[in-house]
């Protein structure tokens, strides 16, 4: 099927409530403690089809990371629904009612969603190969030989065939991120989510990571990538999604978004990055 839905985000809301414990002073004076509430997602709808590459753009604090993290339930949504490959995330639906699911069920659903973090988050006590093998063994219960058989080609694919025995402390930022990508890919998820995969890298290391992501996109992997790399987004995305203050303000093919943006926030974003004249 050409337009099989992989991710279906429906009217998702998310509010962060900051620490609710009153301070000693507030308790002593009896002053009411005002909870700080920030509504970060204010009704987001997004559909991602199989094989699509989606780039999410938006200014800092617009809710891009939060949206991505909600999709694999690193954050819990307050309202709305998220389906990945037809499975409702975080809940079971029984007779039209939503019941919070068990942690093991969430874990099972997460194996189908690859996530790449800004700060790599490699297991520091494991080599590059160990990092890629670990979830294959611990989660997929493969034998060491089977795990290695999957891990090695994935590391070779990201260009790290010669660095497999290095610990993260002996890898550059770009290499660490490529290990993280290989680790996520080796689980053969239906979709890969990237949260600013190159933002923590020295400028000269950005290219090698973007090249790997591009290669994965060209292999037909479904992916959503949050990025500030405008040219890269334009280059690889099938669709650009622009977020601002917790909502999607505009989406469309890069050819249109980058040449004829409709929304003022999109225009502001593009002129700030020097793509449109200010």
């Amino acid at each position: 099927m050409a337009d099989e839905t992989i991710i279906d985000v429906r009217d998702v809301h998310k509010t962060f409530v900051s620490d609710t414990r009153p301070t000693l002073w507030q308790r002593l004076t009896g002053k009411p403690h005002v909870q700080k509430r920030v509504e970060v997602l204010k009704g987001v709808d997004l559909v991602v089809h199989r094989g699509e590459t989606i780039a999410i753009l938006g200014s800092s604090g617009s809710g891009k990371s939060t949206l991505l993290r909600c999709v694999n339930k690193l954050e819990t949504i307050d309202a709305g629904r998220i389906y990945v490959n037809g499975h409702l995330i975080g809940y079971e639906e029984r007779d039209g009612e939503l019941i919070a699911e068990k942690a093991s069920v969430t874990a099972q659903k997460r194996t189908d969603i690859g996530f790449v973090f800004q700060h790599f988050n490699l297991f520091l006590n494991k080599t590059a190969l160990g990092n890629v093998m670990a979830p294959l063994r611990d989660v997929k219960k493969l034998s060491a030989a089977e795990a290695r058989e999957i891990a090695v080609p994935n590391l070779e694919m990201v260009g790290l065939g010669d660095k497999m025995d290095n610990y993260p402390s002996k890898l550059s930022g770009g290499q660490k991120q490529r290990v993280a990508i290989a680790r996520a890919l080796a689980m053969e998820p239906s979709v890969m989510l990237f949260d600013e995969p190159t933002s923590a890298l020295d400028p000269e290391l950005v290219g090698e990571v973007l090249a790997v992501i591009k290669k994965i996109a060209q292999q037909g992997t479904t992916m959503v990538i949050v990025t500030h790399e405008m040219q890269f987004a334009r280059d690889i995305a099938d669709r650009i999604v622009v977020m601002d203050q917790g909502v999607i303000v505009e989406e469309g093919p890069p050819s249109r978004i980058f040449t004829a943006p409709q929304h003022p926030k999109t225009r502001a974003l593009l002129s700030r990055s020097g793509i449109l004249p200010a």
Binding site: A103, A107, F117, F120, N121, F123, L124, N125, R183
Partner: protein, 217 residues
């Protein structure tokens, strides 16, 4: 040169006590590692009762001297019908005591594992408990290696305290020799040197372990 000769002459008798010290230290360390990890997990658990029990345990152990704890186990427990032989009593006392201190080592080591790695594990499909056992705890062991080693050395020296509950370890052996020959200086000098001979190489091992832990972290 008489002093040197006399001191050396004491060693064979004192060496007889080394197997007991090894038994005490290894046995107590096994208890301390397992119980210490459990107490650490209880302290960071979300279950209030577990946290409470662990905290009380910690405060009681840290708030009373090890010597008193050993005496309590050996001399007081029999009055409620629990008699334990000297060596097992020593292992139990040292183990329970060091478990409290090791639990603090484990707790801070567990909390020092960056949250990012926990999130990575979750995102790869590890359940929360699998994340704890496969990702967080193995790494906290690496971080804990040095402090555990140092506590192990301290524990070896603390085995001397079990002399008061009739364990024939190095100090008790020295006491017995002293009561027979009255060569006080030679006997206790030999005992002190014997403790040094045991703990100095171990200190070197700990330094190497710490360096290794840092390199892989």
């Amino acid at each position: 040169m008489d002093f040197v000769k006399n001191t050396l002459a004491v060693f064979p008798a004192l060496l007889q006590a080394v197997p007991v010290v090894v038994q005490l230290a290894l046995g107590a360390m096994a208890i301390a590692l397992v119980l210490g990890l459990l107490v650490a997990l209880a302290r960071i658990s979300s279950i209030k009762i577990l946290r409470g029990i662990a905290t009380v345990y910690l405060e009681v152990i840290r708030g009373t001297p090890l010597l008193v704890q050993l005496v309590y186990i050996f001399f007081v427990l029999p009055s409620i019908g629990v008699s334990i032989d000297p060596v097992p009593a020593g292992i139990l006392g040292l183990g329970l005591n060091y478990a409290a201190y090791l639990s603090e080592v484990f707790r801070s080591a567990i909390l020092s594992v960056e949250h990012g790695q926990t999130e990575a594990a979750l995102s790869l499909g590890y359940t929360p408990s699998k994340t704890l056992w496969k990702v967080v705890i193995p790494q906290s062991f690496v971080v804990s290696m040095g402090p555990i080693g140092n506590y192990f050395i301290a524990m070896i020296k603390d085995t001397a305290l079990t002399s008061v509950i009739a364990v024939t370890e190095i100090l008790k052996t020295a006491n017995i020799l002293n009561s027979q020959t009255f060569q006080t200086t030679a006997i206790y000098t030999a005992a002190a040197i014997l403790y040094l001979i045991i703990s100095l190489p171990l200190s070197r091992v700990v330094v190497v372990l710490e360096r290794k832990a840092r390199a892989s972290g």
